[in-house]
Structures are given as C-alpha cells and as structure tokens.
Amino acid sequence: MEDKVVHGQPDLLTDFDRQRVAADDLRTEELLINMGPQHPSTHGVLRLMLRTDGELVLEAIPHIGYLHRCAEKIGENVTPVQFVPYTDRLDYLAGMNNNHGYSLAIEKLCGLEVPERARYIRVLMCELNRIASHLVSFGCYGLDMGAFTPFLYAFREREYILDLFEATCGQRLTYNYLSIGGVTQDLPGGFADKLAHFLDYFEPKIDEYNNLLSYNYIFVKRTAGVGVVSAADALAYGLTGPCLRASGVKWDLRRCVPYEIYDRFEFDIPIGIAGGAIGVPREVVVGDSWSRYFVRMQEMKQSVRILRQALQQLPAGEFRAKVPAALKVPAGEVYLEVEGARGQLGYLIVGDGKKTPRRVKIRGPSFCNLSIATHVCRRVLIADVAAILGSIDVVMGEVDR
C-alpha cells in the first residue's frame, strides 16, 4: 500500500486509524424522513421523524398532538354524565372500555352502587369491545406487514360485534352506553342468543386466523425478534396491557387488582413465551413484535371465555342505579385504572363539590406504550418501524386526547 498524504500532511496514521478513515469515507449521508402524519402505517396522525442511513433507522422521534382535542379541558367544563360521550372518542376502537373506566371512577368518587345486572352487561360490552379492538389490531397489523386479506376478515367479524352494539345502544363506534350508575338501557330481546351464536362462530375463527397469519412463515420472519422490549424496560416505560404481558409480565388488572366483577370469572392471562414452546415459532423472543401481536390473539379467546361465563350468570334486575339528576362531584379525588383493550386506562378525577370536576386526567395506555417507540426503533429497518408501531397498536385519539 502506498503512503497516503492526507490534507497535505504526511500520513502518520496507524492501521486502526486508516480503517476508521475508510469507514468514515464509506459512511453515507443521513436521511431525515417524515413518517406521517399521513402515512399508511402510523395508524392515524402520528408523525415520526426518522433519521436513517439508507433503510437503517438510526433514530425515530415521535411527534404527537395532531389529534389533540382538549378532552381533559372539556372534562373540567362539563358534568360527568355529559363527559361520558367524550370518553368514547379517546380510544375510539374500544369506546365501551373508556366509558367503563370513567363511570367506575365517578361512581367510586360519588359512592354510587351499580346494580348487579348492569355490572354483567358492562363486562359483556367491555369484553366484546376488547375483541372488536383486537380484531382491528390484528387486521391492521396484517396490513402493515403487507397482507391485505386478514384485514377484511377481521372487519367481517367486527361487523357482527358492531351490529350487536348497534342493536344494544344504537351506536356502532361511539356508544355512550356504559354510563354513570349502570348502562343507559337494557339489552335488547334475543341478545343472548345472538351473542352465543357469535361466540360459537367466532371462536374457531381465531385458530383459522392464527393459521392464516400468525404462523405464516414470512409473517413470523418479519415480526419475531423485532422490537424486543425486556420486562424491565416495559415496566420502566410504563407499558401496560398486551405490550407489557408480551414482555413476560403476567399482569392484568382484571386478575391482579380485580375491579367490577372480574373476580367471578375464570380466565387465563396470556403472556409472551419464548420460541420453541408449543404454538410458538422458534424465532420468537419474549417481548418482540410477534409476542405482542400473539398475546392479543390469545386474549380474544380469553374474552370469549369470559363472555360465555358472563352470559351464563347474567342476572335479571335493574340495569341502572338511581343517579341524582344534578349529580355533584364531591370534594375528594380518585385515581382508578381499568384494563382497556390497549392497557391500563387511568382516570384521575379531582372534585370540589361542584357539578363539574376540578380536574380530569386521563392516562391513555397508548400514550405510555408509544413513548417506548424511540427506545425500540433504534438501528432497525424502516420496514421494522411499521412492524413495531403496528404491534404496539396505538390509537392516536388516546395518545393526543
């Protein structure tokens, strides 16, 4: 090798330096790419600033707030009953769960007792909505991976759930059904039969979809080992719901801190399992995108179990407690979390004896789940960013509130 002259100076570089210089020469310019706010795989108006080296993402910086609708400010200015419809718009894919959390928090603060039947109806609705939400997640995740067809299948099943909701409360997306003191109206006639029919139809479909997508070789290759979140990281970043359970933390508020009547049902908490176990491809690492996705698939089955039991135990009776027309939020505060479809949905409500609460803070699970994106999307490919975001399953309505 000839002696090189660098910038007119004699070459005094060691071999190690030469290699480093060569590496510097080879290094290409970095690319700054805006992924979103209008991008097919950011699931809404999330904007990610990607700093990439070719296809390799060096850093992903989320920018949120495009869907900020001042939900908390509205919550301070309307009465609790009036605020229930607004909670539908937070996580718009699981409106029932949002209603539920808010109603429970207000009931706890005001000391309201909910009739038994209403509690069962609430559980029915929440679990159905969890299935509907997970179906969207499943379908959209397939879409993110380039498989179009599961999306349509997922929406086909979800359609039935939405029809059930429509028959129950007249709404298909923003229900305003689970209200303070119970539910707004009783179940329609024939609901139990229809629901039982749906459950019988739907349960085998989950296995079908597992065969179609979950165990698809390409799909596993795309998602297994991608975006691994360790249990410690998941806890530190406040991940909850399927994202936390996929990291191997068996934590579900429905079992660990039972609220409503969840302690009356038998169901399992699916968690992420390392590859090689039965039903888990060998490439899978605990806490990767595949685990997050698959926990949701298994949760649908558990929801079906809960639904069957709840349907069996469903008592007759009142569907709503007597709620004073001018409900005052008493002085005091409450922080209550429920297990929403995406994780723990928390409401901090501070009242001071007026008709409207002083403060309504909403802890959106997607908000916390999304905050790990920067940490995970480091030195991955652009295609993996879609895989990771899809597996975190954010709903921007809840992130931006």
């Binding site: 993110d144 039935y160 295609a383």
Partner: protein, 586 residues
C-alpha cells in the same frame, strides 16, 4: 343534486333549433353521398384501367360516408331510443367486441396463408419472391377446403409456417371469385415482412392494452372474492366489467402533476422506460410456433434483457421524483434486481441446456405431446428450476411477497408516490403486461408452451382436415389459446399469492435470493447437467422420474381444481355468518 341517472345521461343537449338543423344537414349529406356512391359504382362497371380503381375507391368512400351521415342523423333524431338500447345491450356489445377481436386475430393468419400459398404456387414450394397484384388476382381466392400437407410435424397452429404449404392451388385456379380483384389488392402488401410486422405490432399493443385492463379488473374481482366481498360491481352492469375502462378514462383526464424539485425530463421519461420494454418483449414472445412477431434465435435472451431494462424505468422514476420515499423505493428495486436476476438466470439455464437452444419456438416445439412431455416434468431438477424460476419472476414483477419497491404500508407508495394520472397508469400497464409475460414464459419454458395436456397425436388426423377441424385441433391440442390460458393461470397464481402472503423485508429478500436461491439454482443447474450426461433418454430412471414429476404436476392441478370446487360449493359458509344471517334491522 339528485342522483345522476340514465335519463340524465340521455337527455338531449341540443337546443330546440339546432337538433332539427343537424338532422336535416346530416340526412341531406347522407343522401347526396349515397347518390354519389351509386353513380361511382355505375362508373366503375364501365370505366377501364386506372379509372376503374378510382371509381371503386370513390364508391367505397362515398358509401361509408353516406352510411355515417345517415347513421348520425338517425342517432341525433332518435337519441333517446339509441341511448336506451345501447345501455341495454352494452354487455352484449362488449362480449361481441371481444369475440370479434378474437375472430379478427384469425383473419391475418388466414390471409397470410393465402398469400404464402399463392407465392408457393407461383414460384414453387419453398421459394420466395414478390407477386404483383395481377399475379394474385390470377391465383384467385377460395377458402382452403382442400387438404394441406404440413411438412414440419408439430409446427402447426392456426397459421402454418410460411414454407409449409404444398400441393395447393389446383382446386382454386381458374375458379376466380368475383371479389378476387379486391382481395388481390388487400393481399398484395401482406407478402412483405414489414406489413406483417406492423400488423403484429398493432396486435401486440392491442393485446397488451386489453390484457392490462382485463387483468386489473380480474385481480380486483379475485381479491374481492378472497376477502369475502364482491369487488367491482357497478360499472358496466355485469360484475363491473367496465371498471378498468372507467378507471382508464378517469386516469387520462387527471392532471399531470410534477413536484417542484423533480427532475422533469427524467420524471416524464421514466414511465416510458418502464412501459416500452414490457411492451417490446411481446415481440419475441411466441403465442404459438406460428403466432409470433419475430422468431428470434436469441428470443429468451432478448426477453430477459428487456425485462431488465424495465427495472431502470422504476429506478429512474424513484430518483426523478425528488421524494425520499420514492428514492427508497428505487433503491429497494435496485437491491432486489441484483438479488433475483442471478438465480433467475441460473434457473433459465436449465431449459436452455436441456433443449440446446435459446429460440423460444424451438423450446416450445420440443414439448409437444401430453402432460409428461412438458419440460418441468422431465426430471426433478427441471421441476425445481421451474419453481425457482417462478419465485424469481415474482420478484421481477414486483409482486407480493416481493412488492418492496411500492410497499404501500412502509413507503407510502414507493416509487409511484409522486405519479398520477396517465403516467401512473403506464407503470401498471407495464406491471401487468410483465406479469403475463413471465407467466407465458414459464409456460413456454417449463409447462408445455402452447400444447394442451392432451396427447397431441390424438388429433393428428385433424391437422389435415378442413378449416373447422384445424380450428378444433387448435382449440383442443395446440394453439395460442393454450398459451394464453397458461399465462393467465400463472397470473392467477401471482394474484393469489399477493392477496395471501405478507411482504418480505428487504434484507430477507436479499438473503432469500442470494443466500438461498442462488446456491439452490446452482445446485439445480449442476444436477440438471449431470442428469443430462448420465441418465440416458428412455432409461428406467428417466422414465420413473418423468412419471413421478408428472404425477406431482397432475396432483397439483387436481388439488387446485378440488380446492376451487370445494370453495365454490361452500362459498356461503366461507363468506362468514354475515352472508347467512344478519342481525335484523341493521
């Protein structure tokens, strides 16, 4: 605004005075022209020499013009009636048009046959020469009802090769048909290669356009059915058959948008760089031994080279768009191309080595006969090469699971992000044309080309029969329809895969192509070499391998048919609960 109805579409836009005036004008013009045509016709019957031909030409032109004018007058006068019936008969007209196009494709073949027969009559069999109009007129015209000797066995399509007709003419000489002189003028240009090339070119362009329009509609229908929905149902009436046409018209009308910082000349050029090779490779693609624009002796190489140039268009498009997503798409396309081209080439070497030629017609002809003669079923290595080839062509066509350059969920729309309107549609024309081309290529190289699975010798007698027997032979045993059918079958498989599989990641594409498919294709090539060297034709091993591979192929076909029937008979269950019973009142 209320819904736009058929009535609205048919409402006359003529003002009260304009309509009768237009009708009057056209009617008068039509009558005058008709009278002129009659007069010219009378002249033609008496005028000698060149005047005769001028008069004939005038009669024809005046006649056509007269009919047009009278027709226009009729349409304007009875616009409602005509419009209503056009709407009612739209589908019939569409089907009639398709059938007409198919029949029209025959006409040149028959005419070529006439010319070649005349040339052979005049100069002797196998010789070449140029006939004058008078010569052709002397030969006359009759449908070839007599037997035709075909020298080259197996090279028979609907139009036998130029040098294959012998012993013809006796039956027709002297029986000059009254229209013989007309036809002589029509036939005269057909003896030149250039005319035939131009005709073939028109045919290819027409075929590719129809193909792309049909395939886009078909893909949407297939995708719809796979996803338990219906796909396009509105435009045109029956199952939205006119959807592609409507889309095409819409795309043509769209604004041609450029980005501020785009490299304009390249941006404009890129769709054509992508489209032209896809079109041009049809020039060397045989639809049967005789139905080919140019039978190149390096046909395979030519098609591969053109397919490679198409990639350049995509890369240029990505670069010129001045969009980072497009650029990433272009880089992906470049990465993908250098990955799949090598295994593709190796897989292609297997049939080339087995047949010893690059001429596609020759490769196809060697596979004459039934299922077992197809190249893919000759040995395990050719079957493996066929599978490798098909996988690599998926990447070449940018189809799922290799659709990385456009990867709509990752790169927005990849290289096509900034394109709109007609330029955008050109890319898709190119894509669908290429999809069919590689499907047809797979059929030619591995799956019996234009031969049906029926043993060819069953219908050998029909080869020498009258026209209808030869047509039946072409439909049942051998002919372009079979190649088109096979091409569409592979196209369907591509569609099927696209709506079933997720997308592979870029590094996995490169891994799969370079680290898996490349060594595999090398092994297959090596295996095929040793097979050719060590296993003599007709030996026990060769026969067993042939039978086993054929059984595999037959099994696959039967399985597909079985699945299709199962799916069709259970379609209501497969569609889901919603189709069976729905929540009342919703």
């Amino acid at each position: 605004m209320a819904n736009f109805t058929v009535e609205d579409a048919l409402r006359s836009r003529w003002s009260a005075s304009a309509k009768p005036r237009a009708v009057r004008t056209f009617a008068v013009l039509g009558i005058v022209l008709a009278v002129a045509a009659l007069g010219l016709g009378y002249l033609a019957s008496s005028a000698p020499g060149a005047g005769y031909w001028l008069a004939v030409l005038g009669t024809a032109l005046a006649g056509v013009a007269a009919m047009t004018c009278l027709g226009a007058a009729f349409v304007i006068q009875f616009s409602r009636l005509v419009g209503t019936w056009l709407f009612r008969l739209a589908f019939l007209i569409f089907v009639g048009g398709l059938v007409g196009i198919a029949l029209l494709a025959w006409v040149p073949a028959l005419l070529y046959e006439q010319v070649d027969a005349a040339v052979a009559d005049h100069y002797g069999a196998g010789a070449t020469g140029v006939l004058t109009v008078a010569d052709l007129e002397a030969v006359g015209w009759a449908l070839p009802t007599d037997s035709i000797e075909v020298r080259r066995q197996g090279a028979v399509g609907w139009a036998p090769p130029t040098d294959s007709i012998d012993g013809r003419g006796k039956a027709v000489v002297g029986s000059a048909h009254p229209t013989a002189s007309f036809l002589a003028y029509a036939l005269w240009p057909l003896q030149f290669r250039l005319t035939r090339d131009i005709l073939a070119l028109v045919g290819v362009v027409g075929f590719v356009s129809l193909l792309a329009m049909f395939t886009i509609w078909w893909e949407r229908k297939v995708a719809g059915r796979m996803q338990s929905r219906l796909g396009p149902m509105r435009v045109g009436g029956w199952h939205g058959w006119a959807q592609s046409m409507a889309d095409g018209i819409k795309l043509l009308q769209k604004e041609d948008i450029y980005l501020e910082g785009a490299d304009r000349p390249l941006f404009k050029l890129a769709p054509y760089i992508a489209f032209m090779p896809a079109l041009a490779l049809f020039l060397a693609l045989p639809f049967s031994a005789a139905w080919i624009c140019r039978d190149l002796d390096i046909g395979l190489l030519f098609i591969l080279a053109l397919a490679g140039i198409g990639v350049l268009g995509v890369i240029v498009a990505g670069w010129a768009s001045n969009n980072k997503w497009s650029l990433l798409g272009a880089m992906r396309e470049a990465c993908q191309m250098i990955s799949y081209e090598i295994p593709l080439g190796f897989a292609l070497l297997v049939p080339v080595m087995t047949t010893g030629t690059l001429r596609l017609t020759a490769i196809g002809e060697l596979q004459a006969g039934g299922f077992h003669t197809w190249l893919a079923f000759q040995s395990p290595f050719t079957l493996a090469a066929a599978v490798l080839f098909f996988t690599a062509t998926l990447a070449a066509c940018k189809r799922a699971p290799f659709d990385l350059p456009e990867a709509e969920s990752e790169l927005v729309a990849g290289v096509y992000t900034e394109y709109s309107g007609f330029r955008w549609s050109l890319f898709f024309f190119a894509e669908y044309a290429e999809m069919f081309a590689v499907g047809a290529l797979a059929a030619i190289l591995f799956f019996g080309a234009w031969y049906s699975p029926l043993p060819a010798n069953w219908g050998a007698a029909w080869l020498h029969g009258p026209l209808w027997q030869r047509a039946l032979y072409g439909i049942l045993f051998n002919g372009p329809l079979w190649l088109i059918f096979k091409g569409f079958f592979f196209l369907f498989v591509q569609i099927w895969l696209r709506w079933t599989l997720p997308r592979i990641r870029l590094d996995q594409v490169m891994y799969a192509c370079v680290q898996v498919m490349l060594p595999l294709s090398m092994l297959v090539l090596l295996g095929a070499t040793f097979w050719a060297l060590l296993v003599p034709h007709g030996s026990m091993l060769a026969v067993v391998a042939n039978l086993a591979c054929t059984a595999l192929g037959v099994g696959a076909v039967l399985a597909i048919i079985g699945i299709v029937f199962y799916g069709y008979s259970n379609r209501r269950q497969l569609v889901g609960t919603l189709a069976i019973e729905h929540w009342p009142g919703s």
